[in-house]
């Protein structure tokens, strides 16, 4: 069994794990990060896209509110290319508690969360699609943040600094020497090989899997899993983040992200990190709540639904189904202190907005325990890709339009204007034929037709680049992944779209009669 050694082994390739690895690199540590799937396949890639202003938590969780407010400003400096500066509004509707807006506004001022009251007329001028019956409106510093862009940037940065990021590698065993963790046994899922990585310190940043990973060292982590479902609408009737100004509850936010508007979220306790099945009532509820804020949503087509699993901290065994009440702030468990086990810290809960702060706090603790004097530099170090601007569909269109007729590029995905050239580059860069990976990079197949047309074309292009790979091996999983997001919305126009996909892939192309791909 091959053995490697490093100073720090980070487990988990979401925003927290990558943040920790990046922070460690800047402090001069030798780092390896392992992730069982692809980047952001857990909670980081399954969120509504909100860069919090902090406003959501000023009443329920003041610490989180302050942290969000500070980190919001930091991220705008260090990763501006991942952020669309949409701004945000908090709206009180006639059915919301009448005294809440004043309490909320006072708390914002007290905590330093930037908020400004504007007239409802001004709000309707900014966002004509809002419910005209709103009674109070406050402007905040929300934004939308593309987590895949963030994770890709962090990964590139870690690799540039000499760190390693290993995808599709799962930790199967933690090896102890006395009461100190010294190594991890890791399975490379592509080849099924086992290898051992020795490290001076280990960080468990596996989000909803934190309990499972800790149990490899016989430690119990009191984690509760809160599934949150979201629905993306096929259009973007508002261009500002819309929050409901009332105590935190289900269905209180709409985030404009790329070409869609995301309605969030529900909160249902589940038993497994992979339990992301969406119930029909969740979708109905989110749509109904969304209509209260933006009435025309009733006539728009829901495009896709997904669910993420929040890893929440529940120190005592409470009753099931009350995950909405659990705090959202970050939890850092020092297992030396807590369980007498040296060399391991678990970090979970928190928000994507404060991932950098969580990483800083984890690394401060790691450095203290390792007797390293290095301090954190992430807050003042812009990531190198900051010269790139935030991706917008109109930018792609403008690029296509200025091209002369002699050089019109081939558009493979009409919904998101992805060209053949971009796909070829992405496939070469990713050194994979996984169309889902290309999707996360380019938004391929994320528009109204949900890959109904481009999946076939992308499979054809992928095959031209790697003719020896199993033909169309990537097509079926990609179609199935897109289908899963439509199933919870399977009625009306969305179900018609699904049927069109079936007409194309089953009746025209007969995909189901292809021989099984050989490995």
């Amino acid at each position: 069994m091959p053995v490697l050694s490093t100073q720090l082994l980070v487990i988990g390739g979401g925003s927290t794990g990558l943040g920790v690895a990046w922070d460690a690199c800047l402090r001069g540590l030798k780092v390896v990060l392992v992730e069982q799937g692809d980047l952001g396949q857990g909670t980081s890639g399954r969120y509504h896209g909100l860069l919090h202003s902090g406003g959501r938590y000023v009443i329920s969780d003041p610490t989180s509110a302050c942290d969000c407010a500070v980190e919001n400003r930091v991220l705008r400096q260090i990763v501006p290319h991942t952020i669309e500066d949409t701004g945000g509004l908090f709206l009180a509707t006639p059915t919301d508690p009448i005294d809440f807006p004043d309490r909320w506004f006072a708390a914002c001022q007290e905590l330093g969360v930037s908020a400004e009251e504007i007239t409802t007329a001004e709000a309707l001028r900014l966002e004509p699609a809002l419910n005209p019956r709103i009674s109070r409106v406050f402007r905040v510093q929300d934004g939308s943040l593309d987590s895949f862009d963030l994770l890709h940037t962090l990964t590139a940065e870690i690799k540039r600094a000499g760190g390693q990021v290993w995808l599709r590698h799962r930790v199967e065993k933690l090896i102890l020497n006395g009461n100190t963790i010294v190594a991890a046994e890791i399975r490379a899922l592509d080849t099924d090989e086992l290898l051992t990585i020795g490290a001076d310190f280990f960080v468990n940043a596996t989000g909803p899997w934190a309990g499972q990973v800790a149990s490899l060292a016989d430690i119990k982590v009191p984690i509760a899993l809160g599934k949150g479902s979201m629905v993306a609408m096929a259009t973007r009737p508002i261009h500002t983040v819309i929050n409901r100004c009332r105590p935190s509850s289900d269905g209180d936010i709409i985030v404009p992200v790329g070409t869609v508007a995301v309605l969030g979220t529900t909160d249902v306790e589940v038993q497994q990190p992979t339990d992301t099945t969406i119930e029909p009532w969740e979708v109905d509820f989110l749509l109904a709540q969304g209509e209260i804020l933006v009435p025309q949503l009733a006539y728009q087509r829901p495009l896709r639904a997904w669910a993420g699993v929040r890893p929440l901290y529940r120190p005592t065994t409470g009753e099931l189904g009350e995950t909405r009440e659990l705090p959202r702030s970050q939890i850092i468990l020092d297992h030396a202190d807590r369980d007498g086990l040296q060399g391991l810290i678990s970090v979970f809960s928190g928000k994507l907005t404060i991932f950098r702060l969580m990483a800083e706090q984890v690394m401060d603790l790691v450095c203290k325990q390792m007797n390293i004097a290095a301090v954190c530099h992430t807050a003042e170090t812009p990531l190198t890709m900051t010269s790139r601007s935030f991706y917008k569909l109109p930018d792609r269109l403008a690029k296509l339009e200025v091209t002369t007729s002699h050089d019109l590029p081939q558009v493979v995905c009409e919904c998101e204007l992805v060209t053949r050239l971009a796909i070829e580059e992405a496939l070469r860069f990713a050194s994979t034929l996984d169309l889902d990976e290309v999707r996360r990079e380019l938004r391929l197949g994320m528009g109204p037709c949900q890959a109904g047309f481009c999946a076939f074309r992308a499979a054809g292009i992928a095959h031209e680049l790697a003719p020896t790979a199993p033909a169309s091996g990537g097509l079926t999983p990609f179609l199935e992944e897109r289908w899963r997001g439509m199933v919870p919305l399977g009625w009306g126009h969305t179900l018609r779209q699904m049927e069109l996909t079936r007409r194309i892939y089953l009746e025209l192309l007969q995909t189901h009669s292809l021989p099984e791909p050989t490995k």
């Binding site: 054809g460 292009i461 009746e507």
Partner: protein, 408 residues
Amino acid sequence: MTEVLIVGAGLTGLFASLLVAERGNAVTLVAQGRGGLELSHGCIDIWGRATPSRALSRLRKSHPYRLAGTAALHAALEFFEEITQQAEYPFPGSISRNLHLPTALGAIHPTALAPQSLAQGDLFDGTPFTLAGIDNLRDFYPQLAASNLRRAGIAVQSVLDLPIPLDDTRHDFYTSDLAHLFDKSNWREEVARVWKPQLIGIKRLGLPAVLGLRDPQHVLEDLQERLGLTLFEIPTLPPSLPGLRLEVILRRRALNTGVHFIEGPRVVGRIDGRSDGRRVSGVVLQTVGGPRVHTADVVILATGGILNGGLVFQQDGRVQESVFDLPVNYDQGRGYWTTTSPLDSQPYSGYGLLVNDLMQPLDAKGAPIFENLYVAGGLLGGADRTMEGSRQGIDLATAYRAVEVALG
């Protein structure tokens, strides 16, 4: 003379309208949209999973084929062949042996009748073949198709990329762009000049389906002669040329035989108040200028299933028939409608109207609802057309049966 009103302009509605006109009756065809032909491969699938003629007699009694009857299917096919022959767009093939045609993905499509340009691609024909892509066409990838065919044990002689002899250097073509070019004889001449040196030693050549829209049989024969080989076409993503061609042929004949078209308005059914609700009197058209009543002696509903708007699947878990609000056979509750993979059979595919062997929709007790209302095509329940490979066969057979009964 019976005044017949047909609702729907897909394969079923157009075919039914031709049958009615053929018998010398007045027929009006109303449709909100265009039907699904341009989304289809343009062949006539009757039964994909086995030899059609043998499989059909073993179906359960509620299957649309059983209700329409084998005689209706045979008579429908005979009329269909007559129409396509006369339009000089012949469909070789037979109900007793499926053709096996390559798809653009390189899978095998079993189908009973196919236009000649597609039928010449039969994989068990024995003549070796080459697949060729056309530069800058976004919807055909011959390497991918060839790899998949080879995995299934089918020999593909070689794979080529053929250039488009155009002066400007566009990099992006749809199949319909190319079809319009192939309709021109000077274009074909130029193509043949450029392509011919690259095709030495090739007896049979497969191309994406782009060989003309207006007079495809002539384009095929002309290009075959110029290139000195057998050509076959493979249908691509919508807009699919073979589907479009079939639509053009059926519409052209309908207009020539006096079918009256009303296209665009939404259609709401109208019940005859004098008949104790036993008869329908026609429909109300929701035109821009307001509602307009259109009466008829007989109404044939050919509005299609979910894709074409005949069935409306609602958020509240109910499924409605869109014109007369007829009872639909389905499972109530969205959770039952779909499965987790798009490649599996879907429960919703089998939902639709229940009818008797006269193609009359039935109520919960199994009695006909209206005396003069008939249903055909995708609106009928009881068949999973996608998995059976039976879509066009059901459309033709049930249209034939409905017209036969309606006209007595």
